[in-house]
């Protein structure tokens, strides 16, 4: 039984296995046409992002609309430079858009101050990166515990949460290992445990299998899939790997900053 009580964040006690968010099943076309209903968890409207490189202006995202329901798993694919990671960064509050709106669970992310945005990220977003980005001098347990240090949980409560998260990713017996003592796949699973330990509103995974061999990649994707199917987590995934993408319920393609195609995977059609 995996239960998380994010008391420090002022949430009610919740558990990954007890979250009863409605699992939306928007038709794929509706996900990007800007007509999602009020029940969507993530609602993106007219999102644009422009970078300046010297005198040159580079438009990475152009008027993008997106609706994601709670419990959805969405994979973003596209060529390099298409804006996938930029979109993920904007959704995760790591970057601010040039125009447009991002609403997550009723919160307008784009209007938050930097400090508020940081706190919001801690509460609502679980990040998984390609390079795992574990702190090498901390054990797996301590790495997973990091987000919980920001909460008001007691030491024993933190321990319970960390052990539960590590058990969920199958690394309960590796909690005292340092990252250098783990394989790449295990490191990524620790990173996933770190991302879910606070029971965030949604997970953002940027090329989570990009640095893994086929077997480890499959394991990691199976784990993410399990988080969605069994624990009703909402997952947004950027990947170049079609095999990883096909495990998502929906695959959206980005090209030159525009969502050009909405494709429902076989699983969803079924």
């Amino acid at each position: 039984m995996f239960r998380l009580a994010v008391i420090g964040h002022g949430f009610h006690a919740v558990g990954l296995d007890s979250i009863a968010r409605p699992i939306g099943r928007l038709p794929s076309s509706r996900r990007v046409d800007g007509r999602g209903d009020a029940n969507t968890l993530i609602s993106v409207r007219n999102l644009s992002k422009t970078y300046r490189r010297g005198s040159e202006e580079i438009q990475v995202l152009q008027g993008l609309n997106l609706d994601v329901d709670a419990g959805d798993s969405v994979a973003f694919m596209g060529p390099s430079g298409s804006g996938k990671t930029t979109l993920l960064n904007l959704l995760g509050g790591l970057d601010v858009p040039t125009h447009g709106s991002i609403r997550v669970a009723g919160d307008e992310v784009t209007s938050m101050s930097a400090g508020k945005l940081t706190a919001w990220r801690g509460r609502h977003v679980g990040f998984v990166f390609q390079m795992f980005n574990l702190i090498p001098v901390l054990t797996a347990f301590q790495n997973v515990e990091l987000p919980l240090l920001l909460t008001r949980l007691s030491k024993s409560e933190r321990r319970q949460h960390v052990e539960a998260a590590l058990s969920l990713v199958g690394l309960a017996d590796r909690m005292n290992h340092y990252p250098r003592q783990l394989s790449g796949g295990q490191e990524q699973r620790v990173a996933i445990a770190r991302s879910i330990v606070t029971d965030p509103t949604f997970l953002l995974c940027d090329e989570p299998t990009g640095d893994l061999d086929r077997k480890s990649a499959d394991d990691v994707m199976a784990l993410l899939e399990q988080l969605v199917s069994s624990h009703k987590k909402t997952l947004l995934l950027v990947t170049h790997d079609p095999r990883a993408a096909e495990r998502a319920q929906v695959v959206l393609h980005l090209d030159k900053g525009v969502l050009v195609e909405a494709q429902t995977t076989v699983g969803e059609q079924a």
Partner: protein, 382 residues
């Protein structure tokens, strides 16, 4: 407290570099400790000078004497509680390197003027009755292994001849900073030995005047100097504090020298530590970005880096000052040039404060850069 582990484990990243940086601090703070000892030793008199004592000396120079007759005249001035005098003897004990101050003093008035120096009544009584008697400070007694009853020969330099003294007592200070390196003996023994007609006959090196009220010092100083303005033995009178300050200046601008060396040491330390912290932040760009991504604030990241810098400074500072303190326990290595060779607590605390200040300044810029780190850019560089 829950964040301390995060800070402390940071030091295990690059152990060798951490040790070197702490070592830099330790060496610098050891040097600081030594400079503080030297500064203190040169300025000891200034710091503990009696507020109610003024020194009357020859206007021409400290080494020129004043007539013995001034003793009575000074004592008769209103507001004066006690007058005594001292004369620099400048004798050599076995070897010129064995320096320690020897003063011919007025036995009847000395003890009442300098009541911070402690001698037992019995020893003083023996000393007073023994024309060749001497009272020696405990530092000097310890240095040469002298004890009460020993007979000490001194070779006169200013006052030629082979002089013999009996150690009748050992004095100690009532305060840590009191100088217990001096050797006191009877002025009468000296004066009687000087042939009639000598310019050193019936003169004293300087007078020490103890006042009834220290608030009268300025007025009495003016009065003394005015009293002897038109004589062939003009005086220069000053509070004991100013007297010691002038004396210290004669040794050169020690303060400036110490400050200069200290400033160079701290500036170098600042560069070393600043560079170390900058490298540490650069190496951990991704980690810091992750911390921010998962909800740690800019302020936290800044304090995290600053805390590392401060801990390095604190450990290095304590080590260096600790070694300096240990070094003082073996006594004055300069054979009497620095009789007060010790590192007091207030100087150690000043040292710790200075170390922390350097740590804070050195860590500030890297910490600021870390706090300004943009997660997206930082992760893109990895």
């Amino acid at each position: 407290m829950k964040y301390w582990r995060l800070v402390l484990v940071g030091f295990s990243r690059k152990k060798f570099r951490t040790v070197l940086t702490i070592g830099s601090f330790a060496v610098a703070m050891f040097l600081f400790g030594l400079l503080a000892i030297i500064h203190l030793s040169f300025n000891q008199g200034i710091e503990i000078a009696g507020a109610d004592r003024i020194i009357v000396m020859n206007k021409v120079s400290f080494i020129q004497p004043l007539p013995l007759s001034y003793d009575r005249q000074l004592a008769d001035l209103p507001g004066v509680r006690q007058v005594t005098h001292a004369t620099w003897f400048g004798g050599i004990y076995q070897d010129e390197k064995n320096f320690f101050p020897q003063l011919a003093i007025d036995v009847d008035t000395w003890r009442q003027t300098y009541d911070e120096f402690l001698v037992s009544d019995d020893e003083w009584k023996t000393f007073a009755a023994d024309r060749q008697g001497a009272i020696v400070g405990e530092i000097t007694a310890k240095r040469f292994g002298w004890k009460v009853g020993d007979r000490i020969p001194l070779k006169g330099a200013i006052f030629p001849g082979d002089w013999q003294f009996n150690i009748d007592g050992i004095y100690r200070g009532s305060r840590k900073a009191d100088d217990t390196s001096a050797f006191w003996f009877h002025y009468d023994y000296l004066n009687e030995s000087i042939p009639a007609g000598s310019s050193w006959k019936n003169v004293a090196g300087w007078y020490i005047v103890r006042l009834k009220d220290s608030g009268d010092a300025v007025q009495i100083i003016s009065r003394v100097d005015a009293m002897y303005a038109n004589t062939s033995w003009q005086t220069k009178t000053a509070t004991e504090k100013n007297f010691y300050a002038d004396f210290a200046k004669q040794m050169g601008n020690i303060q400036f020298l110490i400050l200069s060396i200290g400033a160079v040491v701290f500036f170098t330390l600042l560069l070393v530590t600043g560079n170390t912290m900058a490298i540490a932040v650069r190496e951990r760009t991704a980690e810091l970005a992750i911390l921010k991504a998962i909800g740690y604030s800019d302020t936290f990241v800044m304090m995290y880096i600053l805390a590392e810098s401060l801990i390095i400074a604190l450990i290095g500072g304590l080590l260096g000052l600790g070694f300096a303190k240990l070094f003082t326990l073996s006594g004055d290595p300069t054979r009497g040039m620095l009789p007060l060779f010790y590192l007091p607590l207030n100087r150690m605390l000043l040292g710790v404060g200075a170390a922390l200040l350097v740590g804070a300044i050195a860590g500030f810029l890297p910490a600021l850069n870390a706090s300004r780190l943009r997660v997206v850019e930082a992760l893109r560089k990895v």
